[in-house]
Subunit: 329 residues, 2 copies
């Protein structure tokens, strides 16, 4: 064993993983039912026509899911035109005037390929309702027609529009999944462009490493019933030949010592992006950035689709973090 | 799928898990070499004679390992007699007089069965050195001859001795693994006994749930190359027929709303006790207790035996937490 030159792979035998009996009944039901769901394979990144067909189907599912989750969170949605994208201004019916000087800048998830259109606004309704705050959600351009850096550029343009109306000390940026990867890269790019940074950043199980090198891509593959495997093809479609280690694509490889907002990061023990999340947390800590981590028991990527008390507990941590970091004046 | 009454187990096929290339070379070497190490089976809890033989061997390995880790951390060790146990007072050569009014109360790990004797002092030398603070390590009684609640009672008696010399606002309690389970139960028992609580608590990958119900006991079994399987038999030996859900055995099931110290919890993505750690973090947060979580990439239970920079980074978080929570006056 002393003379090995090759790294030992770890052989893990086949196993049956039971649904834990101590998580909420809703979370148990979710894990039981989602485990049986098949996942449709993604087309190769070169086949744009196949991608259009694939995304039409995927968007149907995601739009319906987001619409269902938004039902309990009424609000007013006003679109603002950007040069090539849309910024949705969302005012929840629960809007509190004490938060009138605050804004949340929302960057939606969806694997860099789905979740656009009005779904980008609907996805932010719950957050607007819970925070009783106005949320601005950017419907950024996406592949196959608009790969990197189009979408990231749209987030910068959208943020400038928010900055015209709100002080940076009163703005939080919020990104789940691919939106978390974009939110982190957005912070780096905004900083590099000399823009004032938001006062808080929420990275919910972020795809901040497009090389997908994290250990949980191995250990939690299949174990995560929501995201059963890597995003590989979507990533190649989005990155469009750019270096995947470019911090504007993979914020994990950025230099945070030059500035980054205080950040809350959340994940689950079954999350395919658990390693993304904890590695980003460590990278921020090493750079001296205020960063806190929350990991939920047996939670897959993105939680239990809002159906479980655990989802509410996670959101409550986001809301509390935003509330303690944003000014009101 | 709508009509299922039984919970679906998740079938995860056999797999080869590579050693991640992005963790430190030391951590990579550790995972490569430890993966091949066999683990000797524990005797049944009823066979005390077999346990004595098993523990003699296990203690040899652990004492040697702890001795090796302590080599770079010189200090003076003074034993104080308790009624049936020993409290070691450790003054590091790096002792800083600005910390003269501070103390760390250390409760060693070792599966409730090993790590006692002088190893209990040696295990705390590194912490004493890094914090430049006096550490008091309790060599509590253990099975097979002294099962629960003997060891826990010893921690209370030891703490009272520390309290005679230090203000609670200047004391931190620190427990790794089984010592983390004991430390958490100690806090509950000290509180229930009307003793003032320490000002900070460090729970390093704690065994705070002796029912071992956490999801990571399934998902990280075998994946964790240090702790490859549950402690089952040791736990039954230690619990000696008591209800495993008693918070003095399994702090996770305690009521923290009645008081608990500010706590830092640490674990790794490959840790068998990852679920213990994150569930305890959530339980404290839900009770409104200040609690922060750190999870390290691909780290197994207890880290990389002090051989990797990741171990130092983890300890630095403990040291920083203690330093910011303890008074000096």
């Amino acid at each position: 064993m002393q003379h090995k030159t090759q790294k030992e792979e770890l052989a893990v035998p086949a196993r049956m993983i039971p649904v834990p009996g101590h998580i909420s009944p809703e979370a148990q039901a979710f894990l039981s039912n989602m485990g049986a769901m098949p996942r449709s394979a993604e087309p190769p990144p070169s086949d744009k026509q196949a991608w259009r067909k694939h995304l039409a189907e995927a968007n149907g599912f995601i739009t319906a899911l987001i619409g269902e989750m938004a039902q309990n969170h009424p609000g007013e949605i006003v679109p603002h035109a950007l040069s090539a994208a849309t910024l949705y201004e969302i005012t929840p019916h629960s809007f509190a005037t004490r938060n009138a000087q605050r804004a949340i800048f929302y960057i939606h998830g969806g694997g860099y390929t789905t979740g656009g259109g009005l779904a980008a606004a609907h996805a932010a309704l719950g957050l607007a309702d819970l925070t009783q705050t106005r949320v601005f959600s950017v419907d950024y351009r996406m592949p196959p027609d608009h790969p990197f850096p189009a979408g990231l550029n749209d987030t910068l343009e959208a943020y400038r529009m928010v900055l015209e109306r709100y002080k940076p000390a009163n703005i939080a940026v919020y990104g789940p999944s691919a939106g978390g990867g974009l939110a982190a890269s957005f912070c780096l790019k905004a900083r590099d462009a000399g823009l004032p940074l938001p006062a808080a950043c929420v990275l919910a199980t972020p795809e901040c490493d497009l090389t997908e090198s994290g250990d949980s891509f191995e250990t939690n593959g299949i174990v995560d019933v929501v995201l059963k495997q890597r995003l590989s093809n979507s990533i190649l479609l989005y990155a469009d030949g750019h270096d995947l280690k470019d911090p504007y694509l993979s914020a994990l490889f950025g230099d945070f010592s030059k500035g980054f907002p205080p950040t809350i990061l959340t994940s689950g023990t079954r999350d395919l992006f658990l390693s993304n999340t904890v590695r980003m947390h460590r990278a921020l800590r090493r750079a001296g950035i205020e960063a806190e981590l929350h990991v939920f028991e047996a939670m897959p990527h993105g939680g239990f689709f809002g159906k479980a008390p655990e989802d509410q507990e996670l959101l409550a941590e986001h809301v509390r973090f935003i509330d303690t970091h944003l000014g009101r004046g």
